[in-house]
Each structure stands twice: as C-alpha cells, then as structure tokens.
Subunit: 462 residues, 2 copies
C-alpha cells in the first residue's frame, strides 16, 4: 500500500467510526423516546380530556375556545420556554336543530335515512324541501344530463370511494370533489339541493360531514347540501332503480355567522445552537361538530404536544427552536395554518422543517415528505433506526394541510402516516370518539414523530 | 470484446429479460389477488356467519361441531378438488355456571372483581374458596416466599405485560408462564387457588382466559385457577397494599370431561405439475368460550379459505397441491395440528410449505418465517412485490402453533403478522367479537396470504 494513502484511510476509518457512534447514540435516543411514550406517556390522558371533557370543537364554538384555553394551560405546565396565542379570525357555522331526511315512495309512505348538513351549507327553507332525485356518479354527469333533467330536483352524488386502493386517502381524494363542489356545480344546472354519499369505505349508518364551497355563486343560487350515510345511499339508489319517481325530503337548519376571533396555540423550546431556525410540529385543535374529534385531530394535537414533553422528559435539548402549533380551523377554512405562515413570513422567521399529524391516531407506519431530494435521501439513511419500531413507510407525497402554507424552497414538510384502513370509518362522523383510539397506537405515533424531529434537529436540514 | 463472451452476455441479458417479465407477471397477479379480495371478497361474510351465527366454539362443544359442518359445507361449495374431515379426539372442558369473585375487606364488606376460570382448571369446591391473598410477580417469587407464606392462601400472579415492547406477542411471551404453569407451581407450595392478571396491555374490565396445565400434579393437588381483569388486578393490588389481611373469595364451576371426537376440516386444490408436493394454509376453527372468537381465530379460518377461493376466482391453477386446513383444538390441546402432521407423516406426504394466520384479523404487516437461509433469501427477493400493499415485515421467527408439528428439514413454515397493537385487548376475552374486526383489514390479510402462497407455489421451495 502506498504510504500516501494511509492518512486518507485513517480519515475514512475514523469517519466511519464516528458514524457508527452516531448511529448508536441515535438508536439509544429513539429507544428512550419510545419507552417514555409507552410507559410514561401523557398523550392518552390529554386526549381523554380533550375528547371527553371538552368534546367537539368546531371553529368559533364555545368548545373551540375551551380547547384553546386548555392547550395554552397544558403547554405552560410543561415548563417550556414560551407559550402564546396567535389571534386568527375564523368562520362560524352552526348546524342548528338536527337535520333529517326521508324517502317518500308514495304519499304518506316514508323511510327515514341518516343525513347531516355539509359544513358551510345553507339551510333548507323552513319546513324543508321535497323533490325528485337524480342520481349521478360525479360532477361530469351533470353536463351530460343537462339543465332539463336537473332543474327543480335534488342531485344525489353517489360515487363510492374506490375500495381496491390500498391507501385510503387516495380513495378519499378520488371522491371528495362531489362533497366539496357538488352543490356549486349542481346549482348551475338548476338543482334545488344536493345529497352526497358519505366518504366512508364501510357500509354503516353514520353520515360524514366535511367542508364544501359554493365557489363564487351568489347567495340566491346557494342550495342546501348534506351527506347521507353509505347504507342510506345504497338504499336510496336501490329504491330509485325500482321507482325513479320517488320524492326526497330534507330538512336542515344550519347557518353561517360573522367570522369570530379564535387562536392558534403555540409553544416553543428555544434552540441551544440555532435559535433562529424553527421546526414546527402540529395538529389542528378544531374538529367537526358530530363526534368528539378524537382521531381528527385530537390525536395529532396531543401527539404534537407529547413531542415537546418527551424531549423535556428524556432531557434532550434541541439545537433548533422547536414549536408545537395547535392550529385552529383546519376543517373549514385553514385560517390558522395560513395565519401562522403569514406571521412567520412577516417576521422573517426561518422555518426549516414542519411535521403534521392529521391522519388519525392509528399505528404509525411512517411519513410522507414534501421536500427536495437531498433531504429525502437523508431520511432514507435513517430507515434502519425506525425498523425496530415497525416504521417502514418513507415516501415522497403530501404533508399536512396546516403546514402547507409554510412551503418554500429548502423547507422539509412531513406528514405522519398512520395505518389508514379504519380512518374513514370515523372521519367527520359521530363515531369519531375517544373509544376508537387505542392508547398504544397513539403513543407509538407520538414517539415516531419525536424521533423524526430529533433526527432533523440533530443533523439539520440539507 | 472477445467473441467468446458474446453468447454468455446474451444468456445473461435474456435471463434478465425473463426475470423482468416474471416480476411483471407476479406484480399483475398480486394486483388481481388484492383487488378481488377487496372488491369481491368472501372472508368478511364468512366471518359474519362463523362469529354471529355459530359463535364461540370451544373444542368438544356443540358449536365446534357446527363450525366443522359449516367449514366442510363452505369448502365443498367452492368446487375445489377434494374436501374431507380428519377425525381427532379432543379435550372437553366446560365453564359451567359463570364464575365470580369478590374482595372482602372486612366481614360483610365486599367488592366484586371480574374473573374467569382458566381453561383446564378444576372448579372450586361448592360454595367457593375464601382465603388470604399473597401477591407475586412471577413463579420465581414462590420459592423466595416459601411454603410458610403460601400454604392455605390464594396466590395472585400480577406481573403485567411489558408495555415498551413494540411487538406485543413478545410481551405476551414474557408473561404467559404465570397463566400456564402458575397453578401447578403454586400448588407445590401449598396454595389453595390462583388468580392471574389477564394477559392484556389495556386497563379494562375483561378477564382473559387461556390454557393452563397442572403438569404431573395428582388430582388431589390440583387447585382452581382464574384470570382477573387488568383493572381488577390493579384494584386488588392496591387494596392489598392498604390491608394485606383482606380475604379473597372465588367461585368456579368448570369441569373436564372425557375426550370427544372432533375434526380438522381439509380442502385441497390438487397441483397441476407437482401434485405430491403439499402446501398448507390454515387457521384454527376452535375458539375460547367467552367471545365469538372473531380475531382468535375466526379471522385466520376465513382468510385461509379465502386463499383457495381467490385462486379459483382469478383462475390461478397451482402447480403444487394446496390444502386449506381448519385445525381443531389449537386453544387447549393442539390435537388437530398434531394429528394432521402425524397423518401426513404416516402417509409419506411431502409437505414443503405451511402458512398459518393466528394473530388476529388486523392490517397485515408481513410474515415471520421458520425456514432455512436459502428460502428466506428467496422471500427477501419478493419484498418489492409486496411494497405497494404496505407489507414490509419479513423476519425469521415463529410461524403458527398448528403448523409447528409439520416442522422438518427443508419445509418453509410461515406466520402472517398483522398489526399487533390491539390484539391483546381482545385475545381470549368476551370482547373478541365480530365488530372488532375491520372488513378491509381482514381482506388485506387474506390477499397477503394468497400472494405468498402464489409465489411459493410458482417458484417452489429451495
């Protein structure tokens, strides 16, 4: 061997040795994080309070305000460096007296079906509306049918989620246009109301709400829109096949009020080396009004809080400033996410990383990333650290709605990806409640998030 | 380039091309399997019948016989090559009138706690037993305490499952000696009864039964053994700390009868190329008597049946003979598994592969293998085929209890590994019911099993 190569070889060997030590240290830290979350975690007790003592917390509601106060209080009790509220104006929409609907096969012969108003819908006139139904598989069908066949009728969007897609969020993405834009589009063809099949892969009796928009329709053209349970949708469709002349009656009492003030809740551990580099971990504090929002997104809220608590608990002092942000109004406006990003930009705060948990409190499978190749390659180098925790999924893709507005060159945006098979059984429905969340699964998610934040804090963003 | 190398190069290139084509074909077949299972599966409807129309089916019970008849009938309806019953003598143990227990803090002042007899336990004398409690963390503690402190008392085994183990089956493995051998060991020190903390990671009110053995104790030395719910165990432990003199009363009416005849249910698609090479896919048909055995192991039964149905449905004709075996008596004797292996051996049947699903009907994560390195390497080569279905876990380890007796050189034994976080919430308890199984998760498991069987059938065992 040439003597000239020796120093080079030593350098490589010692680098390799260093790298080995780093991996060992990281592996020990991850073990501590998981162990603490599973044996001495606080996420489940927090979720119990948020779900069972506060409950549903739609933007602008008394409960949403209670949740803000609770979040601030709990973060302050962690003894982190800074906790504050960030004011944001949010929409206020209320469901009013519970809606109802029935199918009238002949005068006086009726069958009830479970519906719920979509968030943002106008109400029916007092006494409800009654009309013939026209069933479609999607927005494209409206044009094919034309105004003649739609005017004066209720349009029934009945395209189901595609069950053979393994990732259920993709199946959701392939259907949700009916819910979001169905009413606006159907109105243009003279429809007087809209019924949308619930975004649920399971056949059951829960109608699933969610946001909708009238686009630029004038108030006069806005028509009421509701979701019908999957069983209800199948029943309605069967009855329509037997007798296309049946009438559908729906009665809704929802209302949109003036915007009200609400808050993002923010807590910070200030970085020891790079205090001006910010890393965000968050979920959204608001929920729909039907269940108690345990999966969507109580889980993400308490897991994000737990990340900071775990760091305190294991004595890890981050180099960068880590912020937990409990975003307000993801469900029907995204005002909290937009406000946070706007303030950050105005203040010139250098955000380098953001991670959101908003896909349910189920067993974590990994993360999706919205980042450049260099950072994704870095993440792939960490795979073996996650394997002992059965975390295998690292893919490029979306991150989270609330952190989306932070997007810019160089930032790493990430989303926790829990097992998604059951998520849409509960999403935006009355059964999204505390009992549907498993303690261990929730805790594993929190630990998985803390592990990723730890690694990005330690090694930085490329 | 030397001309001599050209033929060699061509050979490599065409091999590579062949390999690419094979991968493409396999990928198409797996897609068909998953799609058929999710869109047109039968596993969930089968499980509905087995769980809700038949229900709990402990070996030797009327329901176990009903399950045998149902399994035979359903397999025959598949139109596969051969369906038959394999006779096997099984133990018959009955719970009798529901057991009960209470803590007596002072005469007349009692608190009920939920218990259930362990499978195989002797009953208490009529009227029950009442005695002081001695709490231990495991069998080793018995020797430390000695006969003096144990004689005449009820021993309370209270070592919890280790919550920071990610794989919950490992936590189960670390605790189950208390349940299986606790009574036999405590009896040697003069205990008159045994209470065991339920093998459950969750705090709740369900006692979890399971098998136990008295080893070679004489009938006179057998003492009654029951499980107590995790909440009950924590309560009992707290009260004991306040007042070690409290009495515990337990009343059990279980009984062991003479062995009775039962059956493994077997169906076969005969191989087109290697009919004398047998591949088994199975689960166990018996269950405990408390819930309806949906996860343990109704799920494994219907998934195994579904493997053969999926092959018929997609028109795949296996090269090797594929057998579905619905084993009888896994829970308290393993007689079905032993009998199947014995008959196979006596007949000189060449079994090359066996796969069991007996870890619940949750989202499949992968497989564990009990096989040699060459076969495991072959499996690792298939990883990328499974990735689109979020199947990432391929590890050496156990397979399944029923197929264990088939073990010999060269055979590949495999176990489906579903997500295990919730499994012990339900295992052997009253809440192991149909509603705890998610349709998609069950169907994904069946498709994952069919995919592995397909690959081993196509490429053979090394």
């Amino acid at each position: 061997m040439s003597k000239n190569l020796l120093p080079f070889l030593f350098a490589i060997l010692s680098l390799n040795c260093l790298a080995q030590n780093e991996i060992k240290e990281d592996s020990i830290t991850l073990k501590k994080i998981y162990k603490t979350s599973l044996l001495n975690g606080k996420s489940y007790a927090w979720l119990d309070h948020l779900s069972n003592q506060i409950g549903a917390r739609l933007s602008g509601s008394v409960n949403a305000q209670k949740a803000v106060e609770w979040g601030e209080k709990e973060l302050k009790e962690l003894g982190i460096d800074k906790v504050w509220l960030q004011s944001v104006m949010v929409p206020k929409w209320t469901r009013g007296v519970t809606e109802f609907a029935f199918i009238e096969t002949e005068p006086g012969k009726t069958t009830n079906v479970p519906i719920c108003a979509l968030g943002g819908s106008v109400p029916t006139p007092i006494g409800g509306i009654k009309a013939s139904i026209v069933e479609v598989q999607g927005i494209d069908d409206l044009k094919k049918l034309g105004s003649e066949k739609i005017t004066g009728k209720i349009v029934f969007f009945n395209r189901p989620m595609q069950a053979d897609l393994i990732e259920t969020f993709k199946a959701y993405g392939g259907c949700v246009d009916q819910r979001y834009s169905g009413a606006a589009e159907a109105s243009k063809f003279g429809a007087i109301g809209v019924i949308v099949r619930s975004m649920n892969l399971r056949l059951d009796d829960f109608p699933h709400t969610g946001s909708m928009s009238y686009g630029d329709l004038s108030d006069m053209d806005k028509i009421p829109a509701a979701a019908i349970s999957t069983n209800g949708a199948d029943l309605l469709s069967s009855i329509l096949k037997l007798n296309p002349k049946i009438k559908f009656h729906m009665n809704m009492n929802c209302r949109t009020w003036k915007d009200v003030e609400s808050f993002n809740v923010i807590g910070q551990i200030t970085g020891s080396e790079y205090p001006n580099e910010y890393m965000v971990v968050g979920g959204h504090l608001d929920s729909w009004d039907l269940g108690d929002g345990s999966h969507d997104d109580g889980a993400g809220v308490v897991q994000s809080m737990e990340v900071l608590r775990l760091f305190k608990e294991i004595g890890y002092k981050p180099k960068r400033s880590i912020r937990v942000v409990l975003f307000m109004n993801e469900e029907n406006g995204l005002r909290g996410g937009k406000k946070y990003a706007k303030v950050a930009k105005n203040k010139g705060e250098n955000h380098v990383f953001a991670l959101e948990s908003d896909a349910g409190g189920f067993t974590p499978r990994g993360f999706s990333f919205d980042c450049d190749d260099a950072n994704f390659k870095q993440v792939e180098g960490w795979k073996s650290l996650f394997e002992p925790y059965l975390i295998h999924y690292f893919a490029k893709g979306g991150s989270g709605a609330d952190i989306g507005p932070l997007k810019k060159d160089g930032i790493v945006l990430a989303g926790l990806r829990p097992d998604s098979q059951r998520y849409f059984d509960y999403h935006h429905a009355k059964n999204d409640t505390f009992d549907a969340v498993n303690k261990r699964e929730l805790e594993l998610g929190a630990a998985t998030m803390a592990s990723l934040v730890y690694l990005f804090d330690k090694y930085g963003v490329k």
